[in-house]
Symmetry: C2
Subunit: 504 residues, 2 copies
Amino acid sequence: MIRPLSLFIFNLNKQNVKTQVKFASTVLPQFSSEKYGVKRKSFGVLQPRDIDYFKSILGEDRVVTDESDVLPFNIDWIKNCRGQSKVVLKPKTTEEVSKILSYCNGKRLAVCPQGGNTGLVGGSVPVFDEIVLNFNLMNKIISLDEISGALVCESGCVLENLDDYVRERNLIMPLDLGAKGSCHIGGNVSTNAGGLRLLRYGNLHGSVLGLEAVKADGTVLDCLRTLKKDNTGYHLKHLFIGSEGTLGVVTKVAIHCPALPKAVSLGFFGVENFENILNLYKRAKTSLGEILSAFEMADNGSVSSTVKNLKLSNPISDYPFYVLVETHGSDETHDSEKLSRFLSEGMESGVIVDGTVTSEPAKMKTIWNIRESIAGAGLVEGYSFKYDVSIPLRNYYDLVELLRDRLKDHQAKVYGYGHVGDGNIHINVIVPEYTKNMYSMLEPYIFEEVAKLKGSISAEHGVGFRKPQFIHYSKDESALQLMKDLKKSMDPNGILNPYKVLPD
Amino acid sequence: MIRPLSLFIFNLNKQNVKTQVKFASTVLPQFSSEKYGVKRKSFGVLQPRDIDYFKSILGEDRVVTDESDVLPFNIDWIKNCRGQSKVVLKPKTTEEVSKILSYCNGKRLAVCPQGGNTGLVGGSVPVFDEIVLNFNLMNKIISLDEISGALVCESGCVLENLDDYVRERNLIMPLDLGAKGSCHIGGNVSTNAGGLRLLRYGNLHGSVLGLEAVKADGTVLDCLRTLKKDNTGYHLKHLFIGSEGTLGVVTKVAIHCPALPKAVSLGFFGVENFENILNLYKRAKTSLGEILSAFEMADNGSVSSTVKNLKLSNPISDYPFYVLVETHGSDETHDSEKLSRFLSEGMESGVIVDGTVTSEPAKMKTIWNIRESIAGAGLVEGYSFKYDVSIPLRNYYDLVELLRDRLKDHQAKVYGYGHVGDGNIHINVIVPEYTKNMYSMLEPYIFEEVAKLKGSISAEHGVGFRKPQFIHYSKDESALQLMKDLKKSMDPNGILNPYKVLPD
């Protein structure tokens, strides 16, 4: 329904491979298929004539076959998974994506759609020789309605670039995450990315207004509406939000951007124990109410190792726990009054031991940088097993303590940090190197414990390649059956992102 | 995953048929099938042995077959549609719903799921002899987590009763609409109801945490999670949000309830022209920002006819347009400062001509009552053609003016009112009585104009029985095909709410 406006086309591709090399080392990870014992399914095998066909659509330059050029697209960000793809395709238009998929579907050639390749569950890299469909070159902004806040863009736009663009027009993106400098909006939508401000601006099922997707057979599905309310038939866009490219490939996104807050403040507090974090969260909901935009926690290990490994500086002393509170509001005086009252009441009652509050952009950036760097900082020390679970708040930190106890005789560090406001904790288990023994100490143990606590084994990272065999801890048989029915109906040959999301 | 907690079971069924009789008259509407020329599809025909089977599951009392008792379930709220059902079933449990659907699917008996029967597009009443599956008796609250705000309840709970219940525990329901005294939460979810506070708390795709639904073949689908974040596989719940009971029947809902605002204020303003309403909306977004919870408009005709027909009183004088602004906040002093500033700036600049601001619950109720009564007030004068469309803000009121011009030689009143913040306008065309001529003056003219303006022909009311033949004005062929594929996969015999949503 939305047509490109040539006046609004901008190239936003300045940073899209940064993260791919950020944590690269000279040691290549083992092939995923060997590491996790997976068998190749009976897909077609790429032939020279297929390459010729792709070149006839895309030209020579956008069909990458050189082994060393293909390598980074085969390896995920945390060096955990490695596929064996022989070719990366870089379409520039939806029509090209449609032609590629239609061809692949006819030849039963499997395809792995890839955005910024910042996923943490191996969903964005191939497992065997799937064709990588990379969106780096589909990075145009199509339109922005500054009154309604509706942004329409191609799926390869980098999140941070979009945020920079809309901020200049007094809007912000409704999501923000550590990988923002590399991740693509199409990947965000396909994985239903959560991030740091979900507490305030809601999830992507709420803020995505519409999208365009290409189905396995090449059909272009046009649900690219920019209206806040549209109850005309099935709400099809949601099929593609969080299905990780297994039901279709997102090519364009329409998303609602909230107003840029006039006043932003940040508090960074030291707290003695987890009980006090919960206490503080309850106070924040009451005292800060509608201006609360983030309530994050990190334990001492998370922060101290990040600060040490990445040579950052911690603005407050050493405490067992840290809490980051951010406010977004429309009146600086009112907001700072609320935040000061929150801080002083917290200090008086002993819930906050120490802290700093700032509205200076540079200082806020320094504090956010600590929080956002935790995910990757552990990689400097060795191999990082990463978990991302939802747990009801009263048991939010239990799993970290259970794991520390379970691993006390092993050389392993267990760190917990995450989005308290969403009941979402991330757990990093850092070990000198990956071993099968440590793997079996952790999985499925962690998922069993999460299921006991009635949590989710994947809060925001998705299922990807790493978790299909554990999905039953969070989805019952009736739901798995409906998932399979949908997959069969929408991608009968199973060419889209195979070995991912759905259990065998 | 959530099990019933007997301690939390309450009966909330105090008002569930109120609206059904509110606007009843002695004149019965024409059968929908005759009025709109629809042919019965080849479903099974109800036999005495079927009634016997239903009685064996539900008992005698919950199988209603007396013609006069069945009548109200055959007629919609605005007396526009009338079905010919011979039986109403009133299950009390999901297991009963499952047995009924499994049986009906086997016998190809068509079923019309019905909540509070407050829909405006004929979606909740049968067209021919579909079996009415009514949820009045599935009205229990199952659990409420007061920290996270997760409410779990059966689908027949009346929205207002749920709101009363959670308000006593310092929470509110994330949606509010005029029909709240009668509508069911299951109906709200099935129709993706929007309402008065979507601007602040987002839509149901964002706030429904999980649900339980029964598929056409009787399979119970358990997606009843209460977590804010859960990225384990396809987000199946969205298939049932807004598909109007055609893909499955919602039996339980888990929904996120925001914190009860400590301070609520309401402003009711007189405005000279529509341009000033837009101007005022922009000011509200800036000055009131995060506390803005509703921004509604109504033209003079909407308000003056409501006030007159229902003998209400208008707290301000007669103006071409009225604007209702509501704020929800956590600090009364801050909020009233913001609202006063908004009012004084609006008055100074001449955008607001007259107005009243109040925080007194009784006065706020009086004002809200005018706004909420507009939808039904026209029925006192005659027949009401009702439209509910999304239109980009700059053209929001154009259609009302176009219609007035088009109908200037007819005995017709055209009123416009709605949710400015969501780009959603309701249009009532009041005529002495329904005529085919007037119908053909209005449809598809209105939908053609909406499509020209790139709007949606149904913003929040849904497609129901009345709009499938017009759905192509808002959904393209690719989307319609995917809808049909989903329907075929999930309800292959097409027994669920036939003649609705999907075009033939």
